[in-house]
């Protein structure tokens, strides 16, 4: 029976035969089918890590339909999660409101009579800003932990990292929650071109990469360079086939002049002709007075003097370059599959990227249905980055039981070198094992495994760390463990688990095992 399911899964996987996956679903009604090692591995890539709900859904749908569902799930969260997220204060304000409030407060504190008063008001404002960043982090973690739309949430993380902004720069702390919610997450599985354009219109990005300061005659190239090097084509001369020049950077920077941020009520004074080209959307502003209207040539394509339409033209141009298809496909494969993914896989993904005009869901479908997927990394697995390690561990340990205090989780990510929204520089966090498997980080993972496994981290306390209900330690030796995790363990890990002196220690060893470090 088991063999039949493996064959069926394999057929589904290779040929996408709907009848086969339906057959699989039907068979589950006569008793749940056991997950194979291949199923588990596949699920651990598509999701942040297996939990009971994921396993049940997979058994119900089969691989092909599970994947289709993951690629199509709505952006709206299911109602319980949506209610919890709606209760997070930062989600109730627009970036514009938050930035304006901060500006008002800054003006107010300047007028305070004494230095002490000013200092206190400054500290309170900083605290409010830190709280806003924490709340955005909490929302991201809640979705990663509890949303059934696991691939969408993973891709949201992936793109937030790809289009990195740093919460410590300027007003990014106030704008990043909206950046993720409005620009990135709704497009995480959509059109790559639309996604790039949404980031170009984001105050967080425009401030982070200094484009808000760039104007005709006072060019700042920072964003133009990263838009090509990091966001689309890949660095010139690299394996993606990217070939832009310094001249292209300068020309693109001119295209981007006037694209910026306006946090005031005032609109620029414009001639009637330029007024027609003015764009304003919340904090986002395209100011024609700051735009360089002289003709430009980027990647051999001529640009007319059309104002913000030039930016749309440039984004389309960049998104459609073969180098972009290869660069993005390769980065996705390195995140999900292996540090050095097979070139056949990357080529197939890049072909899909070009054929579908950058449809992200279709590129992912090519990747997750490829026969290279699991063989590529066998037998070593892909080393989890800190986010994947922490989230997968919590999903397994608490299995849908909702955490109330996310501060310890933020602390763990920080200690492991991956603080949320905390990467200072625009290349984002690396995906390769070498970035995460240093001696200090590995031993730190064991300590975090213990904190989770012993149930001692205060995850169910209130956020100001007043004690919540006592949850004790999680029971990790449950059905899911025996079905999905235990079969992946080698002899040494089994021997180690057999030596555990307590449930808490057993949990710790499981989460600290080499098999669990990889997916």
């Amino acid at each position: 029976m088991c063999d039949r399911h493996i064959r069926c899964a394999l057929l589904t996987f290779l040929l996408l035969l709907p009848s086969c996956s339906i057959g699989r679903a039907n068979s589950s009604s006569s008793g749940p089918a056991a997950l194979t090692a291949g199923d588990v591995r596949w699920l651990n890539r598509v999701t942040f890590g297996i939990d009971s709900a994921t396993a049940a859904r997979y058994r119900q749908l089969g691989r092909a339909r599970f994947l289709s569902e993951q690629l199509q799930l709505k952006v709206e969260d299911p109602s319980t999660l949506a209610a919890a997220i709606a209760a997070i204060p930062v989600t109730q304000y627009s970036a514009e409101q938050l930035v304006r409030n901060a500006r008002v407060e800054q003006e107010r504190l300047k007028a305070l009579p004494t230095e002490d008063d000013k200092q206190q008001a400054r500290m309170a404002l900083n605290q409010a800003a830190n709280q806003a960043v924490y709340e955005a982090t909490k929302r991201q973690l809640m979705r990663a932990l509890y949303s059934p739309a696991q691939l969408q949430e993973q891709m949201t993380w992936f793109w937030m990292n790809h289009f990195n902004v740093f919460s410590g720069k300027g007003t990014v702390r106030w704008t990043l929650a909206e950046y993720e919610e409005r620009a990135v997450r709704p497009r995480a599985l959509g059109s790559f071109r639309d996604l790039v354009l949404a980031t170009v219109k984001s105050p967080a990005m425009l401030e982070y990469l200094d484009n808000a300061q760039s104007a005709a005659g006072r060019i700042n190239e920072n964003y133009a360079r990263e838009l090509m090097e990091l966001h689309t084509l890949g660095v010139a001369g690299s394996a993606s086939g990217s070939r832009y020049t310094q001249r292209d950077v300068q020309e693109l920077a001119r295209v981007l002049t006037g694209v910026g941020v306006n946090a005031t009520d005032a609109a620029p004074r414009l001639s009637p002709e330029r007024q027609a080209l003015y764009v304003r959307d919340g904090l986002f502003e395209f100011n024609p007075n700051r735009h360089d209207f002289a003709p430009k040539i980027v990647l051999n394509q001529r640009f007319g003097s059309t104002g913000f339409a030039e930016v749309g033209q440039a984004v389309t141009l960049l998104a459609r370059q073969p180098a972009t298809a290869r660069f993005i496909s390769s980065k996705l494969a390195r995140y999900f599959i292996a540090d050095d993914p097979p070139s056949a896989l990357v080529n197939a993904m890049a072909a899909t990227f070009q054929r579908t005009d950058g449809n992200i869901a279709e590129v992912l479908r090519t990747m997750f249905t490829s026969p290279d997927l699991l063989s590529a990394s066998a037998p070593t697995g892909k080393f989890k980055d800190p986010m994947q390690f922490v989230v997968s561990s919590l999903r397994l340990a608490y299995d849908g039981k909702v955490i109330t205090n996310y501060r310890p989780v933020v602390g763990w990510l920080t200690q492991l070198g991956e603080p949320p929204y905390g990467h200072v520089t625009p290349e984002g966090y690396g995906a390769a094992e070498t970035a995460w498997a240093s001696p200090g980080q590995l031993v730190k993972r064991f300590e975090i495994a213990r904190a989770i496994g012993a149930g001692s981290a205060g995850l169910f306390n209130t956020e100001d760390n007043r004690p919540g209900p006592s949850m004790g330690f999680p029971m990790l030796n449950n059905r899911l463990f025996y079905e999905a995790i235990e079969p992946t363990f080698g002899a040494r890990t089994r021997e180690a688990l057999a030596q555990a002196a307590s449930q808490a220690e057993w949990n710790t060893l499981l989460l600290a095992s080499p098999e669990w470090m990889q997916r």
Partner: protein, 415 residues
């Protein structure tokens, strides 16, 4: 008008303020290339405002360019003023930020610290990440490849005698490369979380995996750190440690880290790295007090504590403090400074021939600014470090080339 002025300060007398630094009195020079040589790199991330730390007080242009940020010319009766860095010719061209009065200034007076202004890289991106990474890689300008850092290559050419470590959460680019280098953050409480039985079980799961060696390094370092901490907390084993412990009670921030670091470097390592962040002072940088002064006070106390805690090993230790770039020479519209170019490196150690402003220099004036904006780089970092490593570790030309390819090492004679 570039003039080469390698100033040497003759330390005539040991200043009373320097009593706290062991090793000064005998001042026995350790021979270059000594087997017990130790090197610590301190990276100030964010680009510290060097011109307000090692201050060109002799330059009228400095006072013109920084109407709100400038520190007053040295004046014994003004505690807000810069401290005089008196050169051999008895002229005061430079001053030190007064936040370093009780930490770096005694070391300067004892001749144990030299400053190298106009130091840095040829990278003109003025980008934090690119400049930090390229400096840490230590490779000539070219396509970005950050797979190998210059301290990892240094460890490789030193062979069996090398004992490298990074006191950071992740492994910094400067120590990445072919050699496995352990890292540990010293910020935490430091209690070892697992007993020996648990460590053995954990390690057994990794036997035969590609992580085996990393994990044994990690555990060993973690254990050493915990032992050091316990020793410090319990009063230590020597008079020196006890002296240190008095301060350790009140130590906070970088000073506590630095004391822990010293214990580890003294006993176990000879190539160490730590970074200190927060130096990107675009807004409200402050003068005698304020943002930069607080950061400096914290850094200076840490370095002085490190020197003290190293004990007799301070004589064979060289510490270099660097940053990715300097800042704009003129202050900006928000009482801060923006990304610039040339910076000031600090070279300190028990046997450093310090008390001097070293390296190639130029009079600080509008006409000598780089791109009318910031300090030029006259002392390229790869050449400087190459020269320093030659002197400290007795490297020959072939091995220096492996650490810094295509670079002519330049010895400023500080060690």
């Amino acid at each position: 008008m570039r003039r080469r002025t390698v100033l040497k300060l003759a330390v005539a007398a040991i200043m009373s303020g320097a009593q706290g630094f062991p090793g000064i009195v005998s001042r026995a020079y350790t021979a270059p290339g000594a087997a017990d040589a130790k090197f610590l790199l301190v990276f100030l991330r964010g680009g510290y405002d060097a011109a307000n730390v090692v201050i060109p007080v002799g330059s009228p242009f400095y006072y013109e360019a920084r109407p709100t940020l400038a520190l007053a010319r040295p004046n014994p009766s003004d505690p807000q003023a810069a401290l005089p860095l008196v050169g051999a010719d008895n002229t005061v061209g430079w001053g030190l930020h007064p936040a370093l009065k009780d930490s770096m200034y005694p070391l300067w007076q004892a001749g144990q610290v030299a400053f190298v202004p106009f130091a840095g890289t040829t990278d003109m991106s003025r980008s934090h990440f690119e400049t930090q990474d390229s400096v840490e890689s230590g490779l000539p300008p070219g396509p970005r490849t950050y797979g190998s850092g210059f301290m990892n290559r240094l460890a490789a050419v030193l062979g069996g005698t090398a004992a490298p470590v990074a006191f950071t959460d992740g492994l910094p680019v400067v120590l990445r490369g072919d050699l496995v280098v352990p890292n540990v953050s010293l910020k935490g409480t430091g209690r070892a979380p697992f007993d020996e039985r648990q460590v053995a079980i954990l390690a057994s799961m990794y036997a035969g995996t590609r992580f085996e060696h990393l994990i044994s390094e990690g555990f060993e370092l973690r254990k050493t750190v915990a032992e050091q901490n316990e020793m410090m907390a319990s009063g230590g084993t020597s008079g020196e440690m006890q002296a240190a412990n008095r301060n350790a009670i009140s130590a906070r921030g970088f000073e506590l880290e630095a004391r822990r670091m010293a214990g580890l470097v003294r006993d176990r390592f000879n190539l160490a790295f730590i970074d200190v962040g927060g130096w990107d002072t675009h807004v409200n940088e402050g003068g005698t007090q304020g943002q930069l002064a607080n950061l400096l006070g914290n850094l200076g106390q840490g370095l002085a504590a490190f020197a003290e805690q190293m004990g007799s090993a301070w004589r064979s230790t060289v510490v270099v403090v660097i940053s990715e770039f300097g800042r704009t020479f003129r202050e900006n519209g928000t009482r801060g400074t923006d990304h610039g170019h040339g910076t000031v490196y600090w070279v300190l150690g028990g046997s450093v021939r310090g008390g001097s402003i070293a390296g190639d220099q130029v009079a600080v004036d509008r006409s000598t600014l780089n791109q009318d904006r910031d300090w030029p780089v006259l002392n390229e970092y790869r050449a400087l470090f190459g020269g320093l490593f030659k002197a400290v570790f007795g490297l020959d030309g072939t091995r220096t080339d492996q650490v810094f390819p295509n670079t002519a090492a330049r010895d400023l004679g500080l060690v």
